[in-house]
Structures are given as C-alpha cells and as structure tokens.
C-alpha cells in the first residue's frame, strides 16, 4: 500500500467565467470542510515509523557527553542518531547563513535546540526513548540582550564567523547592521520647533499557525527519498536538505502536503532533514509531527525589538528629521535576520516624507530563541514605534493626529530614506481619510441588546467583572508601509507550467507550480488567472512539488504578484501557441486570423471586436500545448552598507487602521470593540480572499497588542510559556468586527496592477490598538503587548 494523503489534482470548473476580479470560491474548499484535505500531519504509510527529536533543556552549554545506549535498547526503537551519525560533511543549514547545526555539535545555543533524533514504531515509544538519552551539559553564561552581547569579553554565540556580514558588523555577536543616512538629521534637528523622543519595546510574537510542523519521508528504491511536507518554499528547503543527506537534488523529491497556516514560521527548515535522515537510516517511512509544545521550539519567532526614536517638527506640523536606532534580537541562529534588518531600517520612518534621516538597525546573536520571518517582517516593529511617535509629535505641535499624518504623508513620487522614488500610487492620506470616515460603533454598545449589560461585549467578558462601571472608550489611528517581494537585489523569480488541451470535449487548462498554498488562496487565484487568460471554464491545479521549477517563497506578500505573474506569463505564451495552431489550421477561413488582435474567451478564439473565429476544441483537436517559463519582477539593488541608499524594494503596500477600544481601568482589561481597516490593494483579484487576508492580518496585529508574547527568562534564556494555555492568541471573543474598505489604485508595474496585500494590515493594527488604549487611559504605554498590570500601575 502506498502513501495515504498524497495530494491530488484539484479541478474546478463551472458555468461561471470565474476570472480575475470575481470572488470565486476556493478549489480546495470542499476537501477542507469534509475533512478529506490531507495536511502534512495526516500523511500515513504502511509500516511507517514515528520520529522524535530530543531538544536541549538549557539555553547555552557545552555538550560533555551523549549516551544513547538505553534509548537504542528500547523495544520498538529502530534508530537513534546524533551529530556523529550525520552522513556527510555538510552538517549545517540556513536560509542565508548556514549557521544552524542539523543536530547540536559540541554546544547548544538556545533552549530547545535539536540534539538527537529517534525513530520508533509508536509516537509514545519514540518520546520515551528520546527521554532516555542522557546528555551531560556544562552550562555557559547566557547572552540575552545588547548589553550582554557586546560587553567586553562577551562569549561569542558563534566563533569563527565567515559569513558575508562579519566584515561590516561592529561585533561578532551582531548578525548584520544597516544604517540609513539621508540629509543631515543633526542639522535639521536645529530647525525643529518640537522634538519628541521615545524608547519602545516590542515583545516576541509567535506565528502560532494551527497545523504543527510535520511531514512524512519515504525512502525510495533508487536511494533517494520522497518528502511530503508543509513548508513555504519547497525549493529553498530542497537546496538545504539535499547536501546534508548527500543526495543530488533530483533524488530528494518533495511534494507539498496540506499546510495549516505559516505566517513566516515555515520559511526555515524544521523536521525536514530529521525525517529524511531517519527514513534513509531505517529504510522505512518516517513521520514526524510536533505537538504544540515542540512547535513553540521548532520554528523561529518574530524578533523582539528595542527601538529608540527622535522625531522633530516645525510649528506648522512639518516633519524636520527622524533619528532611530532599532535593535532586533535574532536569537541563536541567523535565519532571516539580515533581511529583517534591511526592512526595519529602510521602512523605519514609515510612509512619511522626511528629508533628514539617520537610522541604524542591527540584529543580535543571543542565546534567546532564534527569530526570523513573521508576517510584516521588520516593518511591524518599526511601525509600532514610529506611529507612537507620530501621535506624540502631533500632540506636541497641537494638531489633530490624523491631520498631522496626512500633512506629512508620502505620495506617488516621494522619496524613501533610501533615496528610492515611490513610482506607483501611495494613497496614505486617502487611506487615513477613509478609515476615519467610517461610522463609529455606538457608545455603550454593551447595552445594544436591551436594558441589561451584555457582559460578553464588555472587558472581562463572561468573567462578569463589570457592567460598564469604570469602562472608558478610546480611539486610535495608525498607518504603515510594507515592501512587497524579496528586496535588496535578490533574484526573486517564479516558475509556472501551463498546459492546455481538450479533455472530454472541453478545453481544459492545467496549472503546475511549486507555490506553497498555506491558506492564502493562491490556488484560487491561479485558476482565475488561467480562466481570464485562456478563456476556459475548467482549470486543474496540480499539487505543488519539485518536479517544476521554483516558485519562490510564500512570504513577503509576493505570491500573487510573482507566481501569479508567472502563471499569467505562461498562459500568455500558451495562448500565442494556440493562436499559431489556429492560424496554421484555420487561418485561411477568415482574414481576422492575420489582422486582428485575438483573445481566448468562453472556450473560443475571438477578435478584440468580439467576433468568434473558432472553437478552441476545433483549434486544438488532440494537440496539447504546454509551456514552463520563469518570470521576474523588475530587479532591485542592495542597500549601500554605510548609507543605506539604493533602489532596494519592488513595491509597497499601505494599510491604515482605526481602533476603538473599551478599557476597564480598574482591572486593566481591554476589549477591542472595532478595528476598521482601509487598504490599497492595487487590484483585488479575488475580493473575498483579499478581505479575508486583511482581517486575518489585522487580528494577528491585535494579538501582539494585547496578549501575545513568548516570555523568555532573562536569567536562563529559557522559554516559559510554550503552550496555548500560556501563550494566548485571540479567540473569536477577543476579536472585534473588522470593517474593511478596499481601495484599488493600479500599480502599472505589476500584473493586473495588483499589490501584495498579506502583511500591511499586520503593521498598523498593533499601533492603532495601542493608540486607542493610550487615548482611553492617558498612559504612555511604550511596550507591546499591553498587559493588565501596565494599565493598573502594578507592573
């Protein structure tokens, strides 16, 4: 019996046109509501074993010894592997810097680092066997912040660095440093009538995708391995996995299994190599599924940050200058830290026009949990700080907070502090206007159902802590800017294979890409693009795998732009070939074949005037047309390492929020009543999905405003709350209504004028909620998340 849960083609087709701009429904929707959709944790194979990872119980230590004998002797155990059992000399991996050991070697650098792996015939047997492995640690002092990282004589988290950042960082415990210097901020500060300063702290957020890390590795007869996996980028995984296994890339055949959310947490490898190693060692299929506890250790988090800002303005409310220093804690391994630094610095002043800017952003190596990609990627932390500053400065100048932002808002043609010109619509002032114009929820909304207070609508909810006494309302605004796509000169391409043929008497398009569908709805959009470009009703989406070229990452709000662009491009190439066939076979029957602009619509070849020339069925007959092509957006360039100047970004995404909160000031409980969003999406390829992305992103921003934080003990660098009992994410009771106003101002550089949308709403949501709480309480609140003790003064 084969592998259960192998993804199949999904065919969607109906009488509808179902092209771009329509809210077509997900092609995988039926599978997902019936429980038939196979997530990576649902994979099953006859005779399969379960893998388990033993993780370090301390954050920083030398490994004195590892004794696996008792674990290996446990009945039901098939293999135990440590660093010494790795098959090749390639024993590290990493997205940009290969600094992460597959299994710890001589040293562990953070709490929960993988030390050994076990395969057994029952998951509980594997867990118990792993617990029998004896590891002796000699603990080292922990590096936990900038002061301890750069103190004289500080222990180096990584000795002997050879990566390409080591030459320009001030200390080996700093992964990367990016200054952005434009004009003369010191001089400009002299012309400021008002100057405000602030120091802000951003807590460590977890992606908390619901489907934990998991996958199934099946050894193949040719010595290779088939890996069914939930990831954000198959080919990036492949590039890192194959060398460790000592296999050529074509012997590591990867197929995307169902992905239960990602949000950046699946950009780095988790259990991929471990499952493959155990499968190749035992000759049996091996499945690894993290539980929630392990998941908190099994992926990188959002960088916690300390941000120091100085803003100045003239009496009439014009920004004079911004100085900023952003310190991101990258934890024990580099992951995406360098790129996060690039974003935090280059977008560090937000969507405003300031000529004189002096920014420095760094990421540290510490013994805290590794941090990397999460939705918003560096821009989130900066937005939290600069938006707090904008409120402070508006108050100092004596202007309305929204009007002050609008006065300083960037627009098309403005320059970023990197010197890059914004050459597509930047409707920052308009988004603020729209979000402010939305009707406000009624005062004392908890009485809306009648005479008595509905406690469910009040802070504290069903705990029944107030019926409205001590409850104060506050309103806050924020706006943000996020780059779309991979920046700083990265070759950010995607590949799409599109085939067109007649099946069962109707023309059918088949789309094959390696795009990771993580819930965002890329598969829906690909089918829409194929319908629009090829005029077919029926589109088959093939499972994503490594038999087709790379699609790049499902991150940076880039997939609809880049893989969507690749699908569009391949469809256009297919259309040209189809028309060539038509001209060859039927060209003599009508002069328009040679003279008119021809389109494919409704299963027919038509002229741009709407005249039908032929049925696609008659054009194609039994021929199939197939194209696989790469597609790129326009190139970017790296930021200068001293000045940060350079055209580093591809596109920008803007969203604005208005938060309405009610705070029980006595207990410090917050209820967010409404979180309205206005966002420019360029072109909504699927309006239903666009709104869903905006609401989901908004809610993750709400989470880090009022509840979500991984707590790391500053003395031991150990994680204190790795569970959903102690790490809280918003429930449906914590989440307010989220009215969304979608603006569509086309970006002429992008396919269909679209704009990447997934991340921008996560930026401005958090500072809007914080601003609303400050507005309600009059408190300063310069850290997020806000906890009750910060509001009651008992912190």
């Amino acid at each position: 019996m084969g592998t259960t849960g192998t993804p199949t083609n999904i065919t969607q087709g109906s009488g509808t046109r179902g092209g771009i701009g329509e809210s077509t429904l997900r092609p995988d929707g039926t599978l997902k509501v019936t429980g038939e959709f196979a997530y990576s944790s649902d994979m099953w194979h006859e005779d399969m074993l379960w893998g388990q990872i033993l993780r370090s119980t301390v954050a920083h230590a030398e490994i004195v010894s590892i004794d696996t004998a008792e674990a290996l002797a446990t009945p039901g155990v098939y293999a135990v592997m440590t660093y010494d059992d790795l098959p090749t000399e390639v024993r590290h991996y990493g997205l940009e810097i290969q600094d992460t050991p597959v299994l710890a070697h001589g040293k562990v650098r953070h709490h929960g680092e993988p030390v050994a792996i076990v395969a057994a015939d029952h998951p509980e047997t594997a867990r118990r066997a792993a617990a029998k492995i004896k590891v002796e640690y000699r603990e080292l002092p922990v590096i936990t912040d900038e002061a301890s990282a750069t103190a004289p004589g500080a222990v180096l988290v990584h000795e002997g660095r050879t990566d390409h950042h080591i030459g320009h960082v001030p200390h080996p415990n700093i992964v990367h440093r990016q200054p952005i210097v434009r004009g003369d901020a010191g001089q400009a500060a002299l012309g400021a009538d008002f100057v405000v300063r602030g120091e802000y702290t951003f807590g460590m957020q977890d992606q908390a995708f619901l489907g934990p890390e998991s996958g199934l590795a099946v050894p193949a007869e040719d010595g290779g391995v088939e890996l069914y996996i939930a990831t954000q980028w198959l080919h990036s995984d492949l590039r890192q996995i194959a060398p460790v296994l000592g296999l050529p890339e074509d012997k590591v055949r990867m197929t995307l299994s169902g992905v239960g959310g990602a949000f950046g947490g699946r950009e780095d490898l988790s259990m991929q190599i471990h499952a493959c190693l155990l499968a190749l060692r035992t000759g049996k299929p091996v499945k690894i599924v993290y539980n929630r506890f392990e998941s908190f250790f099994g992926h990188v988090h959002r960088h916690p940050a300390k941000l120091t800002y100085e803003h100045g303005a003239t009496k009439d409310g014009r920004l004079t200058h911004v100085k900023a220093r952003i310190v991101l804690d990258g934890g024990a391994y580099a992951s995406a830290s360098p790129a996060v630094v690039g974003n935090a610095s280059s977008l560090g002043i937000g969507p405003y026009v300031v000529d004189d800017v002096d920014i420095e952003a760094i990421a540290l190596y510490t013994n805290n949990p590794p941090c990397g990609a999460m939705r918003g990627f560096g821009a989130v932390q900066a937005c939290f700080a600069y938006e707090a500053q904008m409120d402070k400065l508006a108050d100092a100048v004596g202007m309305d907070r929204v009007a002050f932002r609008q006065l300083n808002a960037m627009e098309q043609g403005s320059l970023l502090p990197t010197g890059q010109r914004v050459d597509s619509p930047a409707p920052v002032a308009e988004l603020l206007r729209r979000v402010k114009a939305m009707p406000l929820p009624p005062e004392r909304q908890w009485l809306s159902a009648g005479e008595d207070a509905d406690v469910r609508q009040l802070p504290g909810g069903l705990s029944n802590t107030t019926h409205g006494e001590g409850v104060v309302r506050g309103i806050g605004y924020a706006v943000g800017i996020k780059n779309v796509g991979f920046s700083e000169g990265f070759d950010d391409y995607s590949t799409a294979r599109v085939r067109m043929e007649v099946v069962g008497g109707v023309p059918v398009a088949t789309v094959h890409t390696a795009m990771a569908e993580v819930g965002q709805g890329g598969v829906t959009v690909h089918a829409q693009i194929a319908r629009t470009e090829l005029g077919v009703a029926q589109v088959t989406i093939q499972p994503a795998d490594t038999r087709v070229g790379s699609a790049g990452s499902t991150s940076a709000s880039r997939q609809t732009y880049v893989t969507g662009g690749a699908v569009k491009n391949s469809c256009e190439l297919v259309r040209e070939k189809v028309l060539e066939i038509g001209r060859r076979k039927l060209g003599t029957y009508h002069p328009a074949w040679a003279t008119a602009e021809l389109l494919l619509e409704g299963g027919k070849v038509v002229t741009d005037g709407g005249e039908v020339l032929a049925d696609l069925v008659d054009v194609l007959e039994d021929e199939a047309v197939e194209v696989e092509a790469e597609w790129r957006h326009r190139p970017t360039e790296p930021f200068d390492l001293r000045t940060g100047q350079g055209d580093g970004h591809v596109q920008y995404s803007f969203a604005a929020h208005r938060a309405v909160v009610e705070v029980d000031t006595e207990l410090g409980l917050v209820k967010v009543i409404e979180l309205a969003c206005a966002q420019d999406v360029g072109k909504a390829l699927n309006p239903l999905s666009v709104v869903g992305q905006i609401q989901g992103g908004t809610t993750q921003g709400l989470g880090v405003a009022v509840m979500e934080e991984i707590i790391v003990d500053p003395k031991t660098a150990k994680v204190r709350n790795p569970s959903f009992t102690d790490y809280l994410i918003p429930t449906i009771l914590d989440t307010p209504t989220i009215p969304v106003d979608v603006l569509e101002l086309a970006d002429d550089h992008a396919p269909y004028g679209l704009r990447g949308i997934g991340e921008a709403p996560t930026l401005s949501s958090t500072p809007a909620v914080l601003a609303a709480i400050r507005n309600a309480t009059g408190l300063q609140l310069d850290r997020t998340p806000v906890r009750p003790e910060h509001l009651t003064g008992t912190a």
Partner: protein, 200 residues
C-alpha cells in the same frame, strides 16, 4: 486494550490501544479518520472537536477507553449526520421546529451510517448547510481549524436556530483560528442560520 464504539454511524473497533491514547489519536491514527485535527492536545484550540453522544468535546482530552460503547460524530460524517437529521426533522441544522431541542436521539444516531467518499477532489460532494456556508462565506483559509469549528457551529445551530452575534462568539470561543480573524466565520454561521430560516 480493545476499544469499540460507533463513529459516524458505523461500529468500529481498535485493537492494541495503549491506555494513554486519546480518542483523537485512535480516530486519526487507528481508524483512518484524520479529519479531526490536533493543534494543541491540551483542550485549548478546539481543532479536535467531535460529538460524543451528541455533546461537543475536545477529543484530545478524551481517553480512548472513555469512548467505549459510545456514539461519535466527526467532520467526515457531518454531512450525512445533517442529512439524516433533516430527513427526520425536516431541518438540516436540526433546529427549525424545535427551539431549544435536544438534537437527535441516540437511537436515531445508531440507525444511520456515513457514506463513503469516493470523489478524489470532493467536487460535487453533498455537504451540510454549515459546511456549504463556510465555503460560500470564505470562512476557510488554511482550513486547519475548520473541522472543529464546523462541529461546534453545527451543534450550536441545532440548539439555537437564530443566534445573535454574541451567541455565536460565545459558542465558538473554544475554537481558535489563526488565519481568518473570525469575521468570515461569523458570516458563515449567520449565513447557515439565515438559509435555514428561509427554508422553513
């Protein structure tokens, strides 16, 4: 040990069940019903929600042995469960003529069995009103929370055919979703309720 119970109207037996195994584990790993999801194994997320003798429970917190001899409905059986209920009451969410009714009886539940799924893509599958509403309203993104939410929402509509928004939020407060921000889940439940009252 051996555990036997009824799942989606069929008698099922699992052998060699270790005492520590949860109902969720037995459903997923021993009975080939992976529709119920495991996102926390701690009773915090609701992804594993099934009905146990009609009551929605976190199956990760139910020891498999506790399910001995009892009736379980999982997402895989939800469409048939709703259809059977509708044939019995004339109402697919079960709530139409019996405000505050107590769902279907154990005896009735024992007389139905879920149909096999033979469609590879699921296209054309017969869905319960709540399932259809989740698709139509865009309430599914990654879908990992969906099975648990469907079971919980279906059970709520069975009890309460005209829920207020606050009722819906309260009933679904044990089910985490990380993708949607819940707005479209609210839309889906409202849609299922509205379609149901139109149908009466």
């Amino acid at each position: 040990m051996r555990v036997s119970f009824t799942v989606n109207g069929r008698r099922q037996e699992a052998d060699d069940v270790w005492e520590g195994e949860s109902l969720l584990y037995v459903l997923r790993e021993r009975l080939g019903l992976p529709g119920s999801k495991n996102a926390c194994e701690q009773g915090e997320c609701g992804s594993c929600t099934v009905r146990l003798d009609g009551v929605p429970v976190c199956s990760c917190l139910v020891a498999a042995g506790q399910a001995e001899g009892r009736e379980i409905v999982t997402v895989e059986g939800l469409a048939d469960f709703a259809r059977q209920r509708s044939e019995h009451t004339g109402c697919a969410t079960g709530a139409c003529n019996s405000v505050g009714g107590d769902g279907i009886s154990l005896d009735e539940a024992q007389r139905w069995a879920a149909k096999g799924q033979d469609s590879q893509t699921g296209e054309g599958a017969e869905l319960s009103p709540v399932q259809q509403a989740f698709i139509d309203a865009g309430a599914v993104q990654c879908g990992f929370c969906t099975p648990g939410l469907l079971i919980a929402a279906d059970e709520m509509l069975e009890r309460n055919p005209n829920p207020t928004d606050a009722d819906i939020r309260e009933a679904l407060s044990g089910n985490l979703c990380r993708c949607t921000g819940y707005e479209k889940i609210m839309d889906a439940v409202r849609l299922a309720a509205a379609r149901q009252s139109e149908a009466v």
